[in-house]
């Protein structure tokens, strides 16, 4: 395509592109590319053609995609990367892109250089980490010099190689000196630039992004050319490092392992930075993202982009951990990169994105492959003059139903291709016929049932009162979609030791309460009037909401039930013959004599030990069975737990897990402090589009198949994922197994079909299609990985294993696997270099960071400092996270609200979020105010030296010390500072699925300990390691593997 490509090819025959920035290059705005691409137009002629604009799609500004074509590899896989790299390179060269890079990196470099001794710039590392293109090795002389200072260190550090080794260059085997963290932070762009040159045409592959990238922008250009080499080359060898670092692991020098001390000397700023990577991606890939190619690597989840559906589903719906799948299972095995999909079938769309159109095929129903039953999609090939079509999944050909027949044009495309969403879009919906309905009856709109614990705890904490007060406004958010005149209905159940149903028929003068004390054998005591249209029954509901708090105001009941209450909701839905969801507000361990009675087993000291699985697994199968029963009927359960003691979430949460529900937890709930959070969560929960009674099946083309499923759902067989309700926040992660050879020309096709009932009661199918390309080169694989998705998969896998293996085993598996991934890269994709170097593939340069975050996250390793319930809650939360959420969970967002340097920023536009900074205590300034959130917790850290004006403006006190930190809400003061802060916080919140409680923290407060835990790059306690330490450790592991 680009000139660069060629360049690459020549230069780097063997391996992919230069490490850095390749990927990013791809993100660049199309225009930049276009000129470049012209070389090889043909590969995808049809699709790319100008025609390719779908009716729906946004016309892609781009010229034919053909560009990709030139790359020898299947376009998808390689191209992007290559492009990226090249582009990157180009740009840099052109200066067009400079700016981003510079801004980021400069500091790095700056830092680096100054402290060469301590950390060589990440380049080396980075490069290694990511795509360590071989080319790098040959550092252009030119390049080298500047970098050496910077880069080398990285590698060295990583490797821990003795200085000498580093210096020695590639040839040496230093076993990696402790690599820790040193090199990671390579800014890609620079790298990218460099690489192209070196790479052979074959893969423009991604050059490894050595950490070197950091070099100041200006340098980059230079590097680019020679750069790669340099990068690849071990950045290394800056003499400086070595000394400290390396306990040359194996190295000849055989220095002692990098000790922590050494590690400490590494400059964390030189490590690959998540913030930097995100910034870069945001800079280069924001904007439209057209899905017109197979194997197109999407922008990072943190990047604001607008999907243009041109035949593949957008990354919001489906993300793959790799977009170029090795043709041979062997390679897959060797690289150890997990292959999986994260599917959010009902993800919320960004502004500018088109919701999947609904196709009504009438009586005919969706057209499907006769054999594997795949649904009509853009991948289907019409043959025989349009009379038959071939399914890409099973290769069978099927007759086109007469009603659906259409002639083909001269290119073999159906004439109506662009009139039919199912022929030109990646995501669309079909209206289901009766055959797709439960019992062949069209469904009624799903019902919403509030199941409220009215025992002493909930009454005292104010939850009952609060909820009743707010129910009206919450109900206003109910989906009012209506297909055939029927609307969603609501019902109310309360319970403590018995279950109370309420008749809220609009014709009644007052609500009726029916108490069922027969908890052993729950049943539905009334036939109609339980579920009512909230608008019609508004008055009765209002009365009821006054009565409920009054009736139970004096409740002294502390023994509660839970199982029967849920059963009651289920029975209610059964009686109404509709699906729906229960919002269960529960307070305490169900110890009353009833089915589902639990005993207390709050042995938090077991957490973190080998026995922790006993307390993390359910103590009885009752709730699993109940959950299955609910799932079988399409009854989703969302648990809102407001406990002030052990509730055994691990056991009761199963009902939510198996029905696709969410778990919310409000420990020590007090209406005045947590009320807003609860109400907002409930509101969001109710408003969210939920697809009820859904069954998802993932079909893949031959050679790969889905094997493991993670998320909240129930599977009664090995292929169908059933959820009683799935909302837009939830994702299911699927691990795909590769068990047969793939061929280049076919690619890998994936179709996700979800049959569901819409909130309006329409039975529909949502189809997502995704095509991945196939590669024969490992480098292509490394170039097309999506690390965020990989981490999502690894995280869910690990958390799932918690109930089976010991924490230690899980940690080892994670560390070994990441070491293997990186080692494999190093061995096969990076050009020969000093073993002492840590070379990271560009796409994965953050892997060590994220793995370390994962190892330390609450869900995986919450120790005895947290309760079993909190731990379990985290585990449940993690299971449904989509990629964006899991990323935030692993690497919290730390946003400076006030820094001495930011005042100017504040003036710009109050709505602009300040840029996040790295999660390390080093970034906290005593005169700053920072907001940290990970999707579950939110902290506001207030430095002690913050200006009194600011404090006064926001907190109305004179100094930070006087702030009432028990408060969970900011005062609503009428001044610009206060407004601004609240505005920012609201905005931060709005990007998360849950309404996070704001915790105020000052240095040296008790809570600061908790806050610090979320500064994930730092070390906390004995059990965890800091980013730098971990990087060193990993490097050691890698070197072990290489030897």
């Amino acid at each position: 395509m680009n000139p660069n490509d060629q360049y690459f090819q020549q230069q780097q025959p063997g391996y992919g592109a230069p490490a850095l920035g390749q990927n990013y290059g791809g993100m660049l705005a199309p225009p930049t590319r276009t000129p470049v691409m012209q070389n090889q137009p043909q590969q995808f002629p049809p699709s790319n053609g100008p025609n390719s604009m779908n009716p729906y799609g946004q016309p892609s500004p781009r010229p034919p995609m053909a560009q990709y074509g030139h790359s020898p590899l299947p376009p998808q896989a390689t191209n992007p990367h290559q492009l990226a790299q090249q582009m990157g390179g180009m740009n840099l060269g052109d200066n067009s892109l400079k700016s981003p890079v510079p801004s980021m990196y400069p500091p790095m470099n700056g830092n680096v250089s100054p402290a060469p001794g301590s950390f060589p710039p990440r380049h080396p590392m980075a490069s290694n980490l990511q795509a360590s293109p071989m080319p790098p090795q040959p550092i252009t002389p030119g390049m080298a010099p500047p970098r050496p200072g910077l880069m080398p260190p990285m590698q060295q550090q990583m490797g821990l190689a003795s200085p000498q080794q580093y210096q020695n260059g590639p040839g040496m085997d230093n076993m990696g000196p402790p690599v820790n963290g040193q090199q990671f932070a390579s800014p890609r762009p620079p790298m990218g630039a460099g690489f192209p040159a070196s790479q052979p045409s074959g893969f423009p592959g991604h050059p490894p992004m050595p950490f070197q990238q950091q070099p100041p922008v200006q340098q980059q250009p230079q590097q680019q050319q020679g750069g790669y080499d340099s990068m690849g080359s071990r950045y290394p060898s800056s003499p400086s490092y070595p000394p400290g670092m390396s306990g040359p692991i194996p190295g000849p020098n055989s220095q002692p392992m990098p000790s922590q001390q050494q590690a400490r000397r590494l400059d964390p700023d030189q490590m690959p930075s998540a913030i930097q990577v995100m910034e870069d991606d945001k800079r280069s890939r924001s904007g439209p993202f057209a899905t017109n190619q197979k194997g197109l690597v999407p922008p990072l989840v943190t990047t604001p982009f607008v999907t243009q559906d041109q035949g593949n589903s957008g990354p919001r719906f489906v993300r793959s951990s790799m977009y170029s799948v090795p043709a041979l299972p062997d390679m897959m095995k060797q690289t150890a990169v997990p292959f999986g999909l994260v599917i959010s079938p009902f993800a919320q769309l960004e502004e500018g994105e088109q919701p999947p159109p609904v196709v009504d095929m009438g009586e005919l129903g969706p057209v499907r492959c006769g054999r594997c039953k795949a649904y009509m999609c853009p991948f289907m090939q019409f043959i025989d003059g349009g009379r038959r079509f071939q399914c890409p999944f099973c290769k069978a050909t099927s007759e086109v139903p007469a009603e659906y027949f259409q002639h083909l044009d001269h290119t073999g495309m159906r004439m109506d291709k662009y009139q039919r969403p199912e022929l030109c879009l990646g995501s669309y919906e079909f209206v289901g016929t009766k055959d797709y309905c439960r019992n062949n009856v069209f469904p009624k709109p799903p019902a919403y049932i509030f199941v409220l614990d009215v025992s002493y705890n909930n009454v005292k904490s104010g939850l009952v009162h609060l909820l009743c007060q707010n129910i009206k406004s919450i109900l206003q958010g109910l989906p009012r979609e209506s297909i055939n005149g029927q609307k969603s209905r609501v019902g109310f159940i309360t319970y403590s030791k018995e279950v109370h149903f309420y008749n809220i028929k609009s014709s009644l003068a007052q609500p009726q309460m029916m108490v069922v004390g027969d908890v052993e054998d729950m049943f539905m005591p009334l036939l109609d009037g339980f579920l009512c249209d909230p608008v019609e029954s508004e008055n009765i509901i209002d009365q009821l909401m006054v009565q409920i708090p009054a009736m139970f105001a004096d409740s002294r009941e502390t023994e509660t039930i839970l199982g029967p209450a849920i059963k009651a909701g289920l029975e209610a839905l059964k009686a109404a013959e509709c699906v729906g969801k229960l919002l269960v507000f529960h307070s305490s361990l169900p110890i009353a004599e009833a089915p589902g009675r639990l005993k207390s087993r709050d042995e938090r000291k077991l957490l973190g030990t080998e026995k922790e699985k006993t307390v993390l697994s359910p103590q009885t199968t009752f709730y699993n069975q109940l959950g299955q029963e609910c799932a079988g009927f399409g009854c989703r359960i969302d648990l809102f737990v407001a406990n002030n003691a052990f509730v055994d979430l691990a056991t009761i949460g199963q009902v939510a897990r198996l029905t696709g529900g969410q778990v919310y937890k409000y420990t020590y709930f007090q209406a005045d402090l947590d009320g807003e959070r609860l109400v907002e969560d409930v509101r969001r929960n109710v408003e969210q589009t939920v697809a009820f009674d859904s069954i998802m099946r993932v079909r893949t083309s031959t050679g790969v198949r889905p094997v493991d499923f993670y998320g909240h759902f129930f599977m009664s067989n090995t292929t169908d994922v059933e959820t009683a309700g799935i909302d837009s926040d939830q994702a299911m992660t699927i691990e795909i197994k590769h068990d047969d050879k793939l061929t280049d020309e076919d690619g890998v096709y994936i179709q996700v079909a979800v049959l569901f009932t819409s909130p309006g009661g329409q039975r529909r199918l949502r189809i997502h299609n995704l095509a991945l390309s196939v590669c024969n080169q490992m480098a292509d694989l490394y170039r097309s990985c999506d690390l965020d998705t990989v981490m999502n998969l690894l995280m869910k896998q690990s958390v799932t294993k918690l109930t089976e293996s010991t924490p230690k085993q899980i940690r080892d598996v994670l560390i070994n696997r990441s070491a293997q991934i990186l080692a494999c890269y190093r061995k096969n994709c990076a050009s020969p270099s000093s073993p002492g170097q840590l070379i990271l593939p560009e796409c994965m340069k953050l892997l060590p960071l994220y793995i370390n975050c994962l190892l330390n996250c609450d869900a995986l390793s919450g120790g005895s400092d947290m309760s079993i319930d909190d731990r379990t809650f985290n585990m449940f939360a993690v299971q449904t996270m989509h990629v964006g959420a899991s990323l935030a969970y692993l690497y919290p967002r730390l946003v400076p609200l006030l820094e001495s340097s930011t005042p100017a920023a504040a003036e710009d536009s109050p709505l602009m979020l300040p840029s996040p900074v790295r999660c390390t205590v080093d970034k906290l300034r005593d005169d700053g105010v920072y907001c940290l959130d990970n999707g579950i917790h939110m902290f506001l850290w207030i430095g002690l030296s913050v200006s009194p004006e600011w404090i006064h403006g926001v907190f109305n006190t004179n100094s930070a010390a006087q702030i009432d930190i028990d408060r969970t809400k900011l005062l609503e003061l009428d001044n610009a500072r206060s407004q601004e802060v609240r505005c920012v916080i609201n905005q931060l919140r709005s990007t998360r699925q849950r309404h996070m409680r704001l915790t105020l923290v000052r240095p040296r407060d008790k809570l600061e300990f908790v806050f610090r835990k979320f500064l994930v790059e730092d070390k906390h306690g004995d059990a965890s390691s800091s980013y730098v330490d971990f990087l060193c450790h990993l490097h050691k592991e890698i070197r072990n593997l290489l030897n």
Partner: protein, 804 residues
């Protein structure tokens, strides 16, 4: 003293007692030879407007196992201030308050005319009566409407302090909480399950400690019961289990003085407090909403509902007078006590099915209701059943609920019928003193002289299993005890009590010796007071060998007929129909052999005393009655008839056995006529009272006149009056009887005439040719039944037969 007839009448009026024999044979052997047992019909709460109000406690014999109550038949030593117990001959000092006693200054209980006397125990707590309505909602809309109206109306009839509760049922059972504001609250139970009292209590959230499950001996009797006589055979001063202790209060909360006000539970509230609420609640009551598919019956959980009702009372008000009033519109079709399933294809069991052992639900259901009845009895709660449906409602299975608790059993076609409406109103009828004619939680004890023992009782009661010394080993009816509990008593309720003479043949009773019987009935009056009614009677002994004529003269054939009817019906419940008839025949023949005067083998010589003369006729009609003949009756009807026979007093029972027929004609004033086909004349209007039906039958001519409208012509005013006369008389009966009879107005040839034709003695049938179509009129009945005449001839023949 006049004739025995008068004596008997006098005694009945005074004491409410009718004995089969008014002179008693002095030895066991002779007694057994009398064929008809020594037994009595006793009406414990017979209305006696002349009873003095006595507010002190009765004086009891101090012997531990006697405790008979001081009565006019005791010998009193006024000087020594002593009295001699006429049952155990214990000499008892009078208590201090009787110090002023003398021949001239006698307490009421020593006056001979007060052989029946009633004490009001003022020191015990007063308990409001409790009414728990159990309402079937699986009935038609209009049935429900009218039932609701009746119930709402009844609220005004109840004593204002009475506690009332409401349970409704259909597929589910709902216990309604009363007196909640702003929200109508009810507790719902699945209709398919049986709940123990403990479960009911838990599920209703009735706190802990309220009544032991299953209602054991809830009341510790040890409370210093003010003056309540302990019963003989009771160890210590304790009250018998389940007796009307003042401590009937729930939750075991009791003060030393007895608590006067029971804490009403949420489900049982004073009528005056919740009548508005309840009226609204009843008004809003809807039919059972659960859909009933084609070919199915509604699911009706009568068994569960009753069980819950019993359980609720058991744990809130043990040992307190209460009535569960069940209004059923159909048979229980699910859950415990189901008598049929919901498949319309399978009709409810008939007598035929029962004979063929084809009623698959019957046994189990019966067991369920028996268990319920016994639980209810233990706590003194009565169960009334008002069943209104065109088909059977399972009364056969449920009968024990009413029969053992003393509750009412009313069977009708529709809640809209006046039969139901008026009957229901009459439940709350008041007597002349403006007091309700109902009493609760009564305990009747029978004391006898040593020569007598008690064999048992047939009546709406349950045994208390108190085995005193005077309890016979021979059981007749409910035996093995000397105490019975009547959870509800009406002024008419009349149990039959059977005795056995145990005096040995060789141990003569001194001349002039008399045998004594004392009935002590403690009960909770509708006003809440606790009262004790004591009836003491005495009869002469006679040596049958020497003075059979004395004994014969003392025979009360009416009482004997009713007693035999009860025994027969009692046997019929368990034995095969033909066996009972054979037994009855044998008894009759033996009686005739014993008391008839005849020459052997010469039927024509047979003569029997005047006071035996009607007895065979009674037996003839009894044999044909619906009590023993099930043909043409459903099992429910049979149950209902036997139920009434077992509780009504002698007069009513006799009417049931042999209906009364009055004739109205221009030939003279209304007169009773023979229950015979010959009485059916064209120019007569007949009024037949069978107790269950009032039939007005217009003879052929009268009917023609009536259709031609003569009564409307002024010149036939007399005809109009004639037509009106039986109607007025019928109204009188209708007004007073409980349950209200079915009123039938028919005429010659009318389909309803069958009610009359099936009762009359078929002296003219299509078989006896000589009268057929001729004779003195009358209406022949098409039947193969034997007529009274034939019956009598056979009887004579058999009686005189030496081989019989």
């Amino acid at each position: 003293m006049g004739t025995f007839q008068e004596y008997i009448q006098q005694n009945e009026d005074r004491d409410g007692v009718r004995l089969s024999w008014n002179v008693w044979p002095s030895s066991r052997l002779e007694a057994t030879r009398l064929v008809v047992n020594l037994a009595c019909l006793y009406t414990p709460l017979k209305e006696k407007p002349d009873l003095p109000a006595i507010t002190y406690d009765p004086v009891m014999c101090t012997r531990g196992n006697c405790k008979a109550i001081l009565n006019p038949l005791c010998q009193v030593d006024y000087r020594g201030k002593l009295w001699l117990c006429n049952f155990c001959f214990q000499r008892n000092p009078f208590p201090p308050q009787y110090a002023g006693i003398s021949e001239l200054n006698q307490p009421a209980e020593l006056h001979p005319q007060f052989s029946t006397i009633e004490y009001t125990l003022t020191r015990s707590q007063t308990l409001p009566p409790i009414f728990l309505l159990v309402v079937d909602t699986c009935i038609d809309e209009d049935e429900l409407m009218t039932l609701k109206e009746s119930l709402q109306m009844s609220l005004s009839l109840l004593p204002p302090n009475a506690l009332i509760g409401l349970i409704t049922y259909g597929k589910m059972v709902q216990v309604h909480e009363l007196g909640c504001d702003g929200i109508a609250k009810s507790y719902v139970f699945r209709g398919t399950k049986d709940f123990s009292a403990k479960q009911v209590q838990d599920m209703l959230g009735l706190g802990k400690g309220g009544g032991a499950a299953g209602g054991g001996n809830v009341t510790p009797g040890q409370m210093g019961q003010p003056g309540m006589p302990g019963m003989p055979g009771q160890p210590g001063p304790g009250m018998p289990p389940g007796s009307v202790g003042p401590m009937g209060g729930p939750m075991g909360a009791r003060g030393p003085g007895g608590q006067s006000v029971l804490p009403p539970s949420r489900f049982l509230q004073p009528v005056h407090k919740c009548d508005m609420y309840l009226t609204d609640l009843l008004g809003e009551l809807q039919r059972d909403p659960w859909p009933v598919s084609q070919g199915k019956r509604p699911l009706r959980s009568t068994g569960s509902a009753l069980s819950i009702a019993v359980g609720l009372l058991e744990c809130t008000f043990p040992n307190t007078g209460a009535r569960v009033m069940l209004f059923a519109g159909g048979a229980c079709s699910q859950g415990p006590g189901m008598v049929l399933n919901d498949d319309l294809k399978q009709p409810i069991r008939s007598h035929h099915d029962i004979d063929k052992d084809n009623a698959k639900f019957m046994k189990k259901a019966t067991k369920h209701y028996e268990a319920l009845a016994s639980r209810a009895c233990t706590n003194g709660h009565a169960i009334d059943i008002y069943a209104c449906a065109l088909d059977q409602t399972g009364l056969l299975e449920m009968k024990s609920c009413c029969n053992t608790t003393g509750g009412h059993l009313v069977m009708g076609d529709s809640f809209g019928s006046s039969l139901f409406k008026q009957t229901f109103q009459r439940v709350f009828a008041k007597d002349a003193r403006n007091e309700y004619k109902m009493a609760f939680n009564a305990l009747m004890e029978v004391k006898t002289s040593r020569e007598l023992k008690v064999c048992g009782t047939i009546g709406p009661c349950i045994s208390m299993n108190v085995k005193g010394p005077n309890v016979s080993e021979t059981e007749l009816g409910i035996g093995g005890t000397s105490q019975w509990k009547f959870c509800a008593l009406g002024t008419n309720t009349t149990p039959a009590i059977f005795f056995e003479v145990v005096n040995q043949h060789g141990a003569p009773i001194p001349q002039g010796g008399r045998g004594h019987i004392q009935f002590i009935t403690q009960y909770q009056h509708s006003s809440g007071q606790k009262r004790v009614r004591v009836t003491t009677i005495a009869r002469n002994w006679a040596d049958a060998a020497a003075n059979l004529s004395h004994i014969t003269a003392g025979f009360d054939q009416e009482a004997a007929a009713v007693l035999m009817a009860r025994l027969a019906a009692f046997r019929a419940d368990s034995d095969e129909g033909p066996d009972v008839l054979r037994w009855l025949d044998r008894m009759l023949i033996r009686l005739c052999q014993k008391f008839g005067v005849y020459s052997k083998d010469d039927p024509n010589s047979f003569v029997i005393g005047e006071n035996f003369s009607l007895y065979p006729q009674f037996m003839f009609h009894l044999r044909r009655s619906q009590f023993l003949q099930v043909f043409n009756n459903s099992p429910d009807e049979t149950t209902f008839y036997r139920h009434m026979l077992n509780r009504e007093d002698l007069t009513q029972a006799l009417i049931m056995v042999q209906p009364i027929l009055y004739s109205y004609s221009f030939h003279g004033p209304p007169e009773p006529v023979l229950l015979d086909t010959s009485s059916i004349q064209p120019d007569r209007i007949l009024l037949m009272d069978t107790f269950f039906q009032i039939v007005i039958y217009h003879g052929e001519t009268i009917a023609q006149w009536r259709t031609q409208g003569y009564q409307n012509a002024p010149e036939y005013e007399n005809f109009k009056q004639l037509l009106q006369a039986p109607i007025d008389d019928a109204q009188d009966i209708l007004q007073s009887r409980f349950p209200m009879p079915r009123y039938i107005d028919t005429e010659h040839g009318g389909s309803q005439a069958r009610f009359l034709l099936s009762k009359v003695n078929p002296s003219q049938t299509h078989n006896n040719m000589f009268t057929y179509g001729g004779g003195d009129g009358g209406a022949p009945v098409l039947t193969d039944d034997v007529s009274l005449q034939v019956f009598m001839e056979h009887l004579k023949k058999l009686a005189v037969s030496s081989t019989a």
